[in-house]
């Protein structure tokens, strides 16, 4: 399986070319406003853009948008909530509660109203919600921005597990240290264009 992005562009960024293999993690770095979020959204087919995006060589336009997004999952940095209770956002709240514990969340968080949880707690829950149905490509927009060091460690451990299971990861982060810890490659975005060759390989993950 390979996610292949070719000539992706809008009036705000691009053209962007990018390949992502199973189990591979790529960090997308760049100053605020350089278009990182735009690129993730475009790959998930959330905004109209030009260019080709395919999975396993199959163009995304050959399948309906919702099908594509079940495979290629975008997680916003401030993801929204539609149900009053946390549990209402999960297919299997019982199983999700176990995963929530391993991220350092309180035992009863599934039964709590969304408005009672902190930004950092919601950020971890949004990540759990995004990976619940095991999408094959994860496009994460600053998934640990609101977290303390301990929680960051737990989230990164979870992501390493997903990578080991064959998920591909495109990660927007402002932390070079996080990019070093998680990513096989780094890409730098300047004025909507990518720089950073595959040679720019970070040591291990």
């Amino acid at each position: 399986m390979t996610l292949r992005v070719a000539g992706l562009r809008s009036d705000l960024f691009g053209p962007v070319d990018l390949d992502l293999a199973p189990g591979e993690a790529v960090a997308l770095l760049g100053p605020s406003g350089s278009g990182k979020t735009r690129i993730l959204r475009a790959i998930a087919d959330l905004d109209p853009v030009e260019g080709k995006v395919s999975l396993d060589g199959r163009d995304r336009l050959t399948r309906p948008g919702p099908d594509w997004r079940r495979q290629v999952r975008y997680l916003a940095s401030d993801a929204g909530w539609w149900d009053e209770r946390v549990a209402g956002h999960f297919r299997d709240p019982g199983r999700a509660a176990g995963a929530a514990r391993s991220l350092g969340l309180p035992d009863d968080c599934m039964g709590r109203p969304v408005t009672q949880l902190s930004t950092g707690q919601l950020q971890r829950l949004a990540l759990l919600r995004a990976i619940e149905d095991r999408p094959r490509v994860l496009l994460l927009d600053e998934p640990t921005a609101a977290l303390d060091d301990e929680a960051i460690g737990r989230v990164e451990a979870l992501l390493r597990g997903l990578l080991a299971d064959g998920a591909a990861l495109l990660l927007v982060t402002h932390s070079l240290a996080q990019a070093d810890r998680l990513a096989d490659r780094r890409l730098h975005l300047r004025d909507g264009r990518l720089a950073g060759a595959p040679a720019d390989r970070a040591p291990g993950r």
Binding site: L46, P64, G65, D67, R69, A76, G80, A130
Partner: protein, 264 residues
């Protein structure tokens, strides 16, 4: 039918009360004397024109003229719908969507009433068709206008939640369901409230008119019920049609949310 005719002097006497309001405003420096005068003058001029036009329409009983009058009513009501929301669909959609939904539902319900319950001869007799269409259209306009306004503002305020569902693989109807429900409910509320209190707080305008014109109250009530049922049906249909069409326009074939289709 027996009714008491009004002379111009009767009207002039009644209009003294508006003048009195104006004088009151000047004395208390409320600053609304001018607005009051403009509004009262507009009302007199508009009604005089409408009266003259209706006299012509009723005398000629022609299908083209009746349709032209109805089309003018739709155009004015459509403008009312288009200017109400804070954020509306850009381009012709902002005007056309609500107008089409409203015209289709009010038009078809009026046709049903004319051909089914009332059966005037000819069926398009403007003495029946125009007031009937006007009442149905006016109420549908209120509902459609509220519903579209609610939908566009709810989509903007709940945008993150809607996009979260879309990103998780929901199709557009599933992602928009909560805001669609809110919009439809909001659009139907005035009509439901109107039905619930009809006759208790104030007598409905049409029924009052018929009673003043000498129609027995029992008959007037029947007419009023017919109208209320038609209004309820047309409002429900119009709100549903325009909310669905608006949701359709705010998303695309890839099931993406397209807030960029709202005018700034």
């Amino acid at each position: 039918m027996s009714y008491i005719q009004l002379s111009l002097w009767d009207l002039a006497a009644a209009s003294l009360f508006v003048l009195l309001n104006g004088i009151l405003s000047l004395c208390l420096s409320l600053g609304i004397a001018r607005q009051l005068l403009v509004a009262a003058t507009r009302m007199v001029v508009q009604l005089a024109i409408v009266g003259a036009a209706l006299s012509f329409l009723f005398a000629t009983v022609s299908l083209p003229w009746t349709l032209a009058w109805a089309a003018a009513m739709v155009a004015i009501a459509g403008r009312e719908i288009a200017v109400r929301p804070d954020r509306r669909l850009s381009g012709w959609w902002g005007y056309g969507l609500g107008t089409a939904g409203m015209a289709m539902s009010a038009g078809s319900l009026t046709l049903v009433a004319l051909l089914g319950s009332l059966q005037p001869d000819p069926w398009y007799d403007p003495r029946y068709a125009i007031p009937l269409f006007g009442m149905i259209l006016g109420n549908t306009m209120t509902g459609v206008s509220l519903a579209i306004d609610t939908l566009t503002s709810a989509v903007l305020s709940d945008r993150r939640a809607i996009e979260a569902r879309i990103a998780l693989g929901a199709d557009r109807m599933a992602a928009l369901r909560p805001v669609l429900q809110t919009a439809v409910r909001r659009g139907l509320t005035p009509m439901i409230n109107a039905m619930a209190v009809t006759g208790l707080v104030s007598l409905p305008g049409m029924m009052t008119g018929q009673i003043l014109a000498g129609v027995p109250p029992g008959e007037a009530v029947r007419y009023q019920l017919l109208i209320m049922f038609l209004i309820a049906g047309a409002t429900g249909l119009g709100v549903l049609l325009s909310v669905l069409a608006c949701a359709w326009r705010l998303t695309d074939a890839r099931h993406r949310l397209r807030c960029d289709r709202l005018a700034l």
